[in-house]
């Protein structure tokens, strides 16, 4: 399996605080890789450092065989890697219509056939042309997240970084979005790196996962291991117990 994304000894610090402490991981091409942990464990920081939204001080990042450093990312990088954020209320420009939101990445990257691409992108996320000239406040949370996914997919990336894409949504809407993401991954042979605090979601969507705590990767296991309880870290066990819900006594 060739590696689509490789992180070696990545360190991210904010002033005195070490958010990522020598984190390494490899994600194969076409693989779906999950990252779980509590808030403050560094899982979102890791995605943001990969995407160039946070700069890393040490370590290396290789995407599709090309090395990247610190914070600078070229256009080629964003053609390959796109990101979907947690909060669909905060991640869409409030004064741009859906049309404008989808147009911008196409213009930046000099795509042709803009008209067909926008219609196709809307169709693909199950919204249709009727949503094209709406503002984001005229959409529900689930519809917004569909737009965010359409915006990421419209550049035909190879790798999708998903930062808690469904944690702000109702359970029934979550199921729809997860199905949509799986469908897109199958159709386009995408590589996923998905961050979530929900072990159920990660084990449903991913083949392998890394468990993070306090800025470090505690362990990396296949998703099957959760079911068979073949993991070693005490912290993984605690997360698993928590995911099973409240028990009295």
């Amino acid at each position: 399996m060739t590696s689509a994304l490789s992180v070696r000894d990545m360190v991210v610090t904010y002033a005195e605080f070490t958010a990522l402490n020598h984190v390494s991981l490899d994600v194969g091409a076409g693989e779906s890789f999950g990252i779980v942990g509590e808030s403050g464990s560094g899982k979102s920081t890791l995605l943001r450092a990969v995407a160039g939204l946070a700069s890393f001080d040490q370590g290396t990042l290789t995407v599709n065989g090309r090395p990247y450093s610190g914070r600078h990312r070229d256009k080629e990088f964003y053609r390959t890697v796109q990101m979907v954020f947690q909060d669909p209320y905060g991640s869409l420009h409030p004064r741009q219509t859906v049309d404008r939101l989808l147009l911008e990445p196409l213009l930046i990257h000099g795509f042709d056939n803009i008209e067909t691409r926008i219609t196709r992108a809307l169709d693909e996320v199950g919204l249709g042309a009727g949503f094209r000239f709406r503002y984001s406040h005229q959409l529900s949370g689930g519809q917004r997240q569909r737009i965010a996914i359409a915006r990421a997919l419209i550049l035909e990336p190879k790798i999708l970084l998903l930062d808690e894409p469904t944690s702000a949504l109702d359970a029934s809407i979550q199921a729809e979005i997860l199905n949509l993401l799986e469908q897109a991954r199958r159709d386009r042979n995408l590589t996923f790196v998905m961050v979530s605090h929900d072990l159920g979601v990660i084990s449903h969507m991913c083949e392998r996962l890394a468990v993070m705590k306090a800025g470090e990767v505690v362990e990396t296991v296949p998703a099957m291991a959760l079911e068979k309880r073949e993991f070693s870290a005490e912290y993984t066990r605690r997360l698993l117990v928590a995911s099973e819900g409240f028990r009295r006594g």
């Binding site: 509590e38 109702d170 359970a171 072990l199 084990s203 605690r238 997360l239 928590a242 995911s243 819900g245």
Partner: protein
Amino acid sequence: MTLAMTAAPLLTVEDLRVTFPTRTGEVNAVRGVSFSLGKERLGIVGESGSGKSQTGRAIMGLTPGHAKITARKLAFGDRDLLSMPNAERRALRGKKIAMILQDPKYSLNPVMTIGRQIVETLKTHEKVSARQARERALSMLEAVQIRDPERVFELYPHEVSGGMGQRAMIAMMLVCGPELLIADEPTSALDVTVQLEVLGILDKLVAERGMGLIFISHDLRLVSSFCDRVIVMYAGKIVEELPSANLASAEHPYTRGLLNCLPTIGSDRHPLPVLDRKREWAL
């Protein structure tokens, strides 16, 4: 765990309706909800917009002023909540009926120390000396398993973690010994591992101090593991009511849909079943 009802139930809700007038017509957030509550744990489940939170807020008396509330009966014990003067309602709120909100980051006063906020609650409702109030606040903080109550007493909400903040909120709400506690998504803003601790504390205190609990959440499984009885709401109405133990035998397709759509470890279902919302559910 007792389901026994006393002669007059703690809370009676009959045909409760909450309506918000808007420019484009009326929005009916709650459309005829009825239930009664004894000293038991009742869960209200539904998705965003189902009216579950507005039901809780109407009981607490926190509905915005421009909204219209009607009910055939909305009574706390034998006292009618809707016809009660505001002053009486205020005396009730925080003393006999208390409410825990979702996110301690937004619902605690950011410019008051945690201790002062708890003391404020006490002094509003009871005649206590400053020293007594402080002592009771400290023992309440201890009861919610805060290890160093003296230190936390002096801290501001932004100086504590989410889990700690939520414990402080529970302490504040229980310090006057309410008879009815409404918890609106009390752990949704917390980390999964912290959620269980906070739920454990809440569960213990509710059991020890004997009060009625209304637990409002979007998480059907969580609610059913925590409560004796569950009400499922959809589009402002109750679509199903059942004992938590019988969750598996839920009949309404909405309840079943909510149970089925969650991805769980070890269940290999691709694609996940999604809810097929039927128009008649909302009628």
